[in-house]
Amino acid sequence: MNELLTVAGLAIDVLTREGPRALVRDVGFRLNRGEALGLVGESGSGKTLTCRALVRLLPSACRVVAGKVTLSGAGDLLAMDERALTEVRGRRVAMIFQNPTSHLDPVMRIGEQIAEGLILHQGLDRSVARRRSIELLDEVGIADPAHTVDAWPHQLSGGMRQRAMIAAALACEPDLLIADEPTTALDVTIQAQIIDLLRRLRGTHGLAVILVSHDLALVGDFCERVAVMRAGRIVEAGETAAILAHPRHPYTRELIGSQPRLVPPGHYFPVSGAPAERAPRVKLGGGAPLLEVADLVVTFQRPRRVLDLVRRRPATYVRAVDRVGFALASGDALGIVGESGSGKSTLARAIVGLVTPSAGAIRLVGDERETPRYRRVQMIFQDPLSALNPRLSVAQTLTEPLIVHRLCRRAEVATRVAALMAEVGLDPALAHRRPRQLSGGQCQRVGIARALALSPAILIADEPTSALDVTIQAQILNLLIRLRAERQLALILISHDLEVVRRVCERVIVMRHGRVVEEGPAERIFAAPQAGYTRELLAAIPGTRGFSGGTPLAWQGVA
């Protein structure tokens, strides 16, 4: 009776040279007016294709081959002609996207992009449409709407751009908003603000929302119902609370189990739905000192233009890292947490020597001539694919440091490479593959093996899992936990994800604008954060609703 949208038997193919290949099969769900449905899955699960198919905005190589999408009062959207479809898009069903920067036209003013639907399809007068745009910008929480309406997209921050996108989507008062990973590209505090805004708009506009996300915790907070997708099919669907509490499908269990917030510290992340195993204990405290960073400052000069030179304007500098200090002993695991622009990556790059500090000291204990810097500290990178030379095979990548630094005899190289691959859990058959022929998780394992080839005492991992799906993230984090114990590695884990850091590290540094905001034992920081910013960060983490209610599920499988 109150039904807004019914999807039944949706199937999507991609056309390849070898013929059509199934991407989405037999997807069906219902949505009532004002309801929120979460579509959850990892990359390649077909969740984005599914929601794009609803308004028939699929990539050109993809085809809907079967199914029905019935929108109340409009009929089957899949059977409609293009003309009738433009009446539905924007007015009945609107969309917002993951990357607000690329989804806004860079050469059109914000106000015009919001108003164009009003002018072209509702026949509104320019000045009326403009006034309406200002109202909308005000409603989505933009501080100075009368001014922002004339701004260009590049003049706004990421969060503001997403708000402007939402304003444009809501301009024609749609009944349904499809939100495709709307916060993935944003910092965690901004993400919380956008989700709050969407929640408020649901109330005031009676909007139904389909929230597409890889983040189960986020969906748990926002949606009454959830559908879990994998390999193009819905594997489980139902009330959010019920599914989170009692997942039936093994994949759903794995997805929930890999959520860092549900893993007790000192344990491996559960893989394939199995309960978390206790990780080998690491002897804490009293390790030999390895690294001391004291009052470290890294500044970048803003590019100077000729005009600045002519006018004798002094060069301006940005402090990316501002008087940061800490010490690291062997076996330590230190987490560095912060949002983008906090200087955490620059700090890491300074420690490995990629960036020259402007002041302060980085003291690596030991004699530089005996053990050069590269044998003491190594780094693994965020984007595992771009961290590997695309022209070198896995074996070549791992051989290079051994040969160049004469770490073993030529005859032994092959055995060493095989041992390294085994240590990081890489199939020996992959030795002659190039990075492009590997999965993201495999690439990251190669990156780790390459770092280990030099047997460093310290391993810096700069957002090692943020480009990976959550189940793969669990595997890579487990590998780091194991290596740390086996090799007595000192680990510096840099992440925007507090929950991840909490599970892997005993000590945490919180950074903001290049400075250390708070430092201390991980458990203390989570239990009783001192700095206001830390509290803000913790409050912004999604999952406070869906997974809350004591710790029902959290430690269930463990105890």
Binding site: H103, D105, P106, H154, M165, A168, C172
Partner: protein, 312 residues
């Protein structure tokens, strides 16, 4: 207008390039083989006469001094005297300027017309017959030697059919346009494929861009998306490409002027090489280089006007 302030200091920034350009032309022409004075005066000239002529042209000074004189004269608008024409280079060039620039502009307009028509046609019918046809035209057009095409066009349209004059420049404006049509078309056929190809690729890329997809999700029709979002975003790379390729277009006119015997700078330049009239070669090279510098400045202005993100 804040963003156009770069126009104030751009000339300062261009100074090194301009100096470099004058230095290159100067060095090039001064290292020409053969003594132009001997060529001019003939083998039986008396030494005093040779010395006097050399002095008259300032050729007896050391090279750095000659360069400074050259710069000083340049600032006064004096490009030296043409040995063959026995007239100031400036005047000789000024006489020939109009046909060349008219040809360049004419060819430019024709290439833009051809390129925008074909690229739009191809992009909006991607993968279909019209697209394949346009792409075929591009591949073929890229490999056509302009001078040969010009000769064929003369043979067919001028000699056989008599539609166009075989050579020359004409007397009236209409006559100019009539005379220059075939040469301009020849140059345009060489340039249009490059432009079409890139414009087509840009249009297709922009049609698939996220912001176009977002516009569709707001209910805009394909035509509205194309007009309002795709074209404005495709304009910028095209203008830049046009700027880069104008150098080629100018080069093309040099050859084509010789084919069609148009009394312009290109033909004059090739002729001066064989008569070793190096002041003239120098002057023409400079004029062409200054044209490019001016074109680049125009492209900068257009870039800033078309793209709000760009700050120069």
């Amino acid at each position: 207008m804040e963003r156009f302030r770069f126009l104030i200091w751009r000339p300062v920034q261009m100074l090194p390039v301009l100096l470099g350009v004058t230095l290159v032309t100067f060095v090039l022409v001064r290292s020409l083989p053969g003594d132009p004075v001997r060529v001019l005066l003939g083998p039986r000239a008396r030494p005093e006469m040779i010395a006097a002529t050399r002095h008259q042209f300032g050729l007896d000074e050391p090279l750095p001094v000659q360069y400074l004189f050259f710069l000083k004269n340049l600032l006064a608008g004096d490009l030296g005297r043409s040995i063959m024409y026995r007239a100031p280079v400036f005047e000789v060039i000024a006489e020939r300027l109009a046909p060349t620039f008219l040809l360049i502009a004419y060819a430019l307009v024709l290439s833009i017309l051809l390129a925008t028509t074909f690229a739009t046609l191809a992009a909006r019918n991607e993968g279909r017959f019209a697209d394949h046809l346009v792409r075929g035209f591009c591949t073929a057009g890229l490999g056509l030697p302009g001078f040969w095409l010009g000769i064929l066009l003369i043979m067919l349209l001028s000699v056989r059919l008599g539609w166009f004059p075989v050579s020359g420049y004409g007397e009236t404006w209409l006559g100019h346009l009539h005379h220059l049509f075939l040469p301009a078309l020849t140059v345009a056929i060489a340039l249009a494929p490059v432009l079409t190809r890139n414009l087509r690729a840009t249009l297709i890329e922009q049609m698939g861009a996220d912001h176009a997809q977002a516009a569709r999700s707001r209910g805009l029709t394909e035509g509205e998306v194309f007009r309002r979002h795709v074209v404005p975003n495709a304009l910028l790379p095209t203008v830049n490409l046009l700027g880069v390729n104008l150098g080629w277009l100018i080069g093309g006119t040099v050859v084509i002027e010789s084919v069609f015997s148009i009394p312009g700078l290109g033909q004059l330049m090739v002729a001066s090489i064989f008569t070793r009239d190096y002041m003239l070669v120098q002057g023409i090279t400079l004029v062409f280089a200054l044209t490019i510098v001016a074109v680049n400045l125009t492209v900068d202005v257009l870039t800033v006007a078309l793209d709000p993100r760009v700050v120069l």
